[in-house]
């Protein structure tokens, strides 16, 4: 009995080792001419994740993986699946494993602050994506939410002028949405003739569905709305559904943030109300995270904040280049597929 069990365990351990192999075997001796430890030996890093399900996070992991492979890094992925306490424990475990550097991907400030500070104090190099560890020694990699909102709203003003009645979809208390909200408030202040006649929003699952129900009611009450700002693609999806059902797709334009293949399909539909969105390619963010950590490990300061610039994507651009999915988007809009951030001559660009 126990023999068979041991067999199973060994087999599983073997299988998991094998999955780690492509990285560890790549360049065990280090990169010739690279500064710091990269020139001497293979580097081992850990990605400690809080969020992992959904397109955004799959692309992010793909970016991390290929940049790590390009640098010959031994990458360990520790996935806490939205369990804050577990993420803290996994951070400790990464330290126990003796990695050189750690990427913290999302999480709760309150939970990560102390253990992250401890890691820095013990000499680990740490970078954080979209979670503020309140530590000057931990570079913050961010997609710029204010910039994201600004680009979309500027396009809206270009399309609709400086005076129109607007609807706004918003749920307070969610950090990126709160940052995008700051920009919206600023724009309204700057252009007093842009009037927010209605505000709604919900995070009830399925989000798009719930938002669609709300939007239908709002449109009945405010048939004169010309533009809807829905700075989260799930919101935008719901709004578009309601607009289509109300037969208003030619009267109303939707501006949003984030992008995915289904979003692209919705935007390129005939007479789609979804005019523009602004997005950061999460795969690029993943690459930037690894490069920032690599700089830090090589003794080069990547800066307190590393901002990955967003890209405006309009209906017209998609139509012009015949883009139908994320892969084509990355291939045909160069500024979406790579970012000139945290670069160095000795850091090879990954194969995309």
């Amino acid at each position: 009995m126990s023999t068979t069990r041991r067999h199973v365990l060994t087999a599983l351990a073997g299988a998991s080792l094998a999955s780690a192999l492509p990285f560890s075997a790549a360049r065990a001796a280090g990169i010739a001419g690279a500064p710091g430890i990269f020139g001497k030996r293979q580097v081992k890093i850990a990605l400690v994740r809080y969020l992992s399900t959904g397109d955004f996070f799959q692309f992010y992991l793909a970016g991390v993986t290929r940049q790590a492979a390009a640098l010959g890094i031994d990458l360990h992925v520790l996935d806490s699946r939205q369990d804050a306490a577990l993420q803290a424990e996994m951070l400790a475990q990464a330290m126990n494993m003796g990695v050189d550097g750690i990427i913290l991907q999302h999480g709760l400030t309150e939970t990560l602050k102390d253990p992250a500070a401890r890691a820095v104090a013990e000499g680990f190099k740490v970078v954080a994506f979209d979670v503020n560890c309140e530590n000057p020694k931990i570079p913050q990699i961010e997609q710029n939410d204010r910039e994201l909102a600004r680009l979309s709203l500027e396009q809206a003003i270009r399309d609709n002028g400086e005076a129109f009645k607007a609807g706004y979809v918003y749920v307070p208390g969610i950090a990126p949405l709160d940052r995008r909200d700051e920009t919206w408030q600023a724009v309204k202040k700057k252009y007093p003739k842009i009037v927010e006649v209605a505000r709604w929003g919900t995070m009830n699952n399925p989000i798009a569905n719930s938002v669609a129900d709300q939007t239908a009611a709002v449109l009945r009450a405010n048939p004169d709305i010309k533009m809807i700002f829905a700075p989260f693609d799930e919101f935008a999806k719901g709004v578009k559904t309601a607009v289509d059902e109300a037969g208003l797709s030619k009267q109303i334009k939707i501006y949003s943030a984030d992008i995915s293949t289904p979003d692209i399909s919705a935007m390129i539909e005939k007479d789609s109300a979804w005019s523009a969105t602004t997005a950061t390619n999460s795969a690029v963010v993943g690459e930037v995270c690894v490069r920032s950590l690599a700089l830090l490990l090589a003794g080069i300061d990547p800066g307190r904040e590393v901002v990955v610039p967003p890209t405006l994507i309009t209906q017209a651009m998609l139509a012009e280049k015949g883009i139908k999915n994320m892969e084509e988007l990355a291939a045909k809009i160069p500024q979406f597929s790579r970012a000139e951030v945290a670069m160095a001559p000795w850091i090879p660009e990954p194969k995309r």
Binding site: A13, S16, R81, Q93
Partner: protein, 346 residues
């Protein structure tokens, strides 16, 4: 293996007894041996696994699960089941955050409120089962859903963080106290996390209670034969309610430690607690051939799961492989308990 003896009058031949005791050994120590083998294998594959710090990491990682599992062990001992432990812990997490962050009260009120809520939930479970005559599984399932919703009502469904906007329009003034956070984060001698000590003390106290005190004996008797225990004069209803209160109390302590670790009233924390702790308690059935819920086994079961997950994480196994292995261990442990047990009788 056994050759039929041609001599009718010969007593039981020697090899028979040896093979019999080997089987006993496997039933009794099989799981512990596997745990030891597992530790050695992980250690050989990843030397960092065996460091003292990593050992305490494992213990810290299982401490909350283990506390909940200890509680559920008591309800399993009376032949019941408490499905509401996970949401009781989450309730305690939200309640402690609410008391400190929104009401701006101190550590002791937060602890008192959590303990009170845990015991009250247990009492409510017990009353539903004893007086409402709802089967244990269903009553606590109902309670689970009820709590999942209830804990979100005061904050309108949002996580509780310092400075958050309240539904009333103002912002939260309070914050987690340092003392409370220390419950989840302080390390004795800069090595042993406080939750580990809480877990070990709780396990020892509960072991004495269940295995050595007359109350524990009666709880086990209720699980073995409720009618006979009632006819032996025990106030069975009160014992059952008490069992669910113990379970609720342990879950609320687990929730507090979780809150101290997370440092925020996070709505998604603790979602995996129920299944992990039930798995730990069930694996515990197979430890030392107990074949019944038992405190020591539950502690080992929690350690078993923690060790496995820590080791597999170090070996870069993806999370779904870890779930798979966890399930595999549980099924094997149940086979040890039930499969071997029945073939041991005639």
């Amino acid at each position: 293996m056994q050759t039929p003896s041609s001599v009718q009058t010969s007593p039981a031949p020697e090899p028979r007894r040896v093979s019999f005791s080997l089987k006993d050994f496997v039933i009794k120590f099989g799981l512990l041996v596997i745990l030891a083998v597992m530790i050695v294998v992980f250690w050989r594959l990843e030397p960092a696994f065996g460091s003292a710090r990593n050992m305490f990491s494992i213990l810290q990682a299982v401490s909350v699960t283990a506390l909940l599992a200890l509680g559920v062990t008591v309800t399993l001992a009376i032949g019941g089941f408490d499905l509401s432990i996970g949401s009781t812990a989450a309730m305690s997490l939200m309640a402690s955050s609410y008391v400190m962050v929104i009401l701006d009260l101190g550590t002791l009120p937060a602890i008192a409120v959590c303990l009170f809520l845990g015991l009250a939930i247990g009492f409510a479970n017990g009353m539903l089962i004893v007086k409402g005559r709802i089967p244990d599984l269903l009553a606590t399932l109902g309670m689970m859903f009820l709590l999942l919703g209830l804990q979100l009502i005061p904050t309108g469904g949002r996580s509780i963080a310092k400075g958050m906007t309240l539904p009333s329009g103002g912002s939260a003034q309070g914050s987690f106290t340092e003392t409370f956070l220390a419950l989840g984060r302080y390390r004795v001698f800069d090595l042993i996390p406080l939750p580990v000590i809480v877990m070990i003390v709780a396990a020892i106290l509960l072991w004495v209670f269940m295995e050595r005190s007359r109350y524990g004996r009666v709880l086990y008797a209720i699980g073995g034969n409720e009618k006979a225990t009632r006819l032996a004069g025990a106030p069975v209803e009160r014992y059952k309610i008490a069992a669910y209160m113990i379970s609720g109390g342990f879950a609320s302590v687990g929730g507090m430690l979780l809150a101290a670790r997370v440092g925020r009233g996070d709505v998604s924390s603790g979602s995996s607690l129920l299944l992990d702790s039930v798995a730990a308690a069930l694996i515990g059935f197979a430890v030392l051939g107990a074949k019944k819920p038992n405190v020591f086994g539950t502690a080992i079961g929690a350690l078993f799961v923690g060790t496995l997950l820590n080791g597999l994480t170090m070996l870069n196994a993806p999370y779904y492989a870890q779930d798979f292995v966890k399930g595999l261990v549980l099924v094997l442990a149940l086979l040890f308990t039930f499969g071997f047990a029945s073939s041991n009788h005639r």
